[in-house]
Symmetry: C3
Subunit: 210 residues, 3 copies
Amino acid sequence: MPILSELMYWLSQAAVASMAAAAVIEAGRKRFDLFGMLVVAVSAALGGGSLRDMLLDRPVFWVRDQTYLLTALGAALLMFFIARRWRMPLRMFLISDALGLALFTVVGTRVALNMEAAWLTASFLGVVTGVMGGILRDILCNEEPLVFQGPLYATAAWAGALFYIVLIDQGLSGVVPALLAGSLVFGLRVAALRWTWRLPSYRDADDARD
Amino acid sequence: MPILSELMYWLSQAAVASMAAAAVIEAGRKRFDLFGMLVVAVSAALGGGSLRDMLLDRPVFWVRDQTYLLTALGAALLMFFIARRWRMPLRMFLISDALGLALFTVVGTRVALNMEAAWLTASFLGVVTGVMGGILRDILCNEEPLVFQGPLYATAAWAGALFYIVLIDQGLSGVVPALLAGSLVFGLRVAALRWTWRLPSYRDADDARD
Amino acid sequence: MPILSELMYWLSQAAVASMAAAAVIEAGRKRFDLFGMLVVAVSAALGGGSLRDMLLDRPVFWVRDQTYLLTALGAALLMFFIARRWRMPLRMFLISDALGLALFTVVGTRVALNMEAAWLTASFLGVVTGVMGGILRDILCNEEPLVFQGPLYATAAWAGALFYIVLIDQGLSGVVPALLAGSLVFGLRVAALRWTWRLPSYRDADDARD
C-alpha cells in the first residue's frame, strides 16, 4: 500500500494550492517581483511537508512526484494574475491560509501514523506540517508569523490532529475522519479570527513594562 | 549498542528541558499566547538535535522516542506557570540557555562520533546541535540571535566540542569527559557574560561608519 | 560511479569558497565577532547543498567529506583577514555571491539529475541549492534576502538550471554544459545588477498605498 492513499493525495494537492495562493497574496503586499513571489509561494506550499518527510526520514513528497511542484507553481501563477487585476482583501489571505493549515494538519498526521509514529509524535508532526509553511512564508516576507499572533492557530491545528487520531482510534477510516478533523481546524481558526479568541498569555498587559 | 548510551540519554533530556525553559522565558517577554510559546519552546528544545540527525541521515531522536517531546512540553509548561507567578530575570534565561548549549554540544559531538564522522565534522555537528535551537528560538521571537551577540557563544561550544574529542582520544570514556567538556562550555559562556569577553571583530568601531 | 564527478567536485569547492567569502563581507558590515562570522560563513557555504541533500534523502556532502568544511573555514578566515586590512566594496560581495549562486545552481542540478529526479524537480533543486545559502546568510545577518531584492536572482538561477538540462538533453556532457550554464547565471545576475533589470511586480507603484 502506498504511504498516501488517493484521498490523502488529493487533500495534499489542495493544501499545496491553498498555501501557494495565500503566499502570493502576502508576498504581493510586499511587492516582490514575480520570481521572488514564486520562491515564497513554493517554499510555503512545500515547506511543511518537506520538514515532515525529512524528520520522518522518508523520501520528500514533491521530489518523488513532481505534480506537487506543478500544482504549487500553477496556483501561484493563477493567483498572481488574479491579484494583479483585483485587489485581494486580507480576508482572502487568512482563509486560504486557514484552509492550507487544516488540510496539511490532517495529511501530516496521517503520514506520521502510517510511518508508525506514536500518537503524540504523530499529532505534533501534523502540527509541524500544518504550520511550517506559513512560518517560512512569513519569515521570508519579514512579517511576524501568523502562528504567533494570538488567535488560536497552532492550537486549532493540534486540536484537529488529536481529534483525527481519536476518530481513527474509534475505528473510523477514509473520508469521514479526515473531513471532520479538517473542518474542526478550519472552523476553530475562522471562529478565532471572527471573535479574536485568545489563550491566556504570559502576563497581563499592564505588567509588561519591566 | 544503541547510538545513545544511558548517560547521553539523560544529558539529552536535561538539554531539552533547559532549552525549553529558556525559550519560555524569552517568548514570555514577547507575550506570545500559551500555544505560540509552546511552539517556540519545542522548536528550540528539539531543533538543534533534529538538524543534527537530518544532517547525519539518521532517524530523528524525538520521532523515535516520544519522551523527548514530553520533556520539552513538560518543562515549557512548568516554566510557563512559574514565570506567570514570579518575574524571571534576564539572568535566568541566559543561564538556562548556557546549560542547554553545553549539554547539547557534548551530546551532539558524541552522536556524530558514534556515526563515524571525522573529528572536525563531529565538532562542527556538536556546535550545530548546541547553537541551532537558540537560533531558531531567537528568529521565531524576532530577536537578534544570542550566538551573534559578542560574548563567546559558538566559540565556547566549539572549544568544548574539541576538548571533548581530545579527552576521548586520550582514552577517557563515560561520565568524565562529558562532564569536563560540558563544564568548559558552560564556564566559558558564563565567564564571557560576566566579563563580556569578546573576540576580535572585523574593524575597529570608529572605522565602521562607511 | 560516484555521485559527484571530479569536475563537479571542484565546482562545489569553488562554490563553497565563494559563498563563504561573500558571507564574511556581509557579516563584517554588521560587525559580528570572528566566531559569529564563521558561523554565518559556514551556514551560507554549506546550507544550500545540505538542504538539497536532505531533500534528496542522500548523505549530506560535507558530513561525508570534511574537505568542504575546511574550504569554507579557510575561505572565510582568509577573507576575514583581507577585509580587516582593506575595505571591501559592496561590489565584491555581490560578485562573490553571484559566483556562488552560479556554481551551486549547476552542481545542485547535476546532483539531482544523478539521483534521477524529474527534470522540473531537478531544476528546482538546483535553484534551492543556489539560493538557500544566501537566504540563510541574509536571515542570520537580519538583512532582506538578496533573492527578494528585484534584480533577477532566482530567475537567473532557474534559467541556468533549465539551460543546463537542455544542454545535457542535447547530448553534451562534461565541462562544456556546466560552464555555459554557470556563465548564463553569472552573466544574467551581473547584467541585472548593472542595469537593474526587473521582472513585472504585483501592482504598479502608485497603486501600492492601500
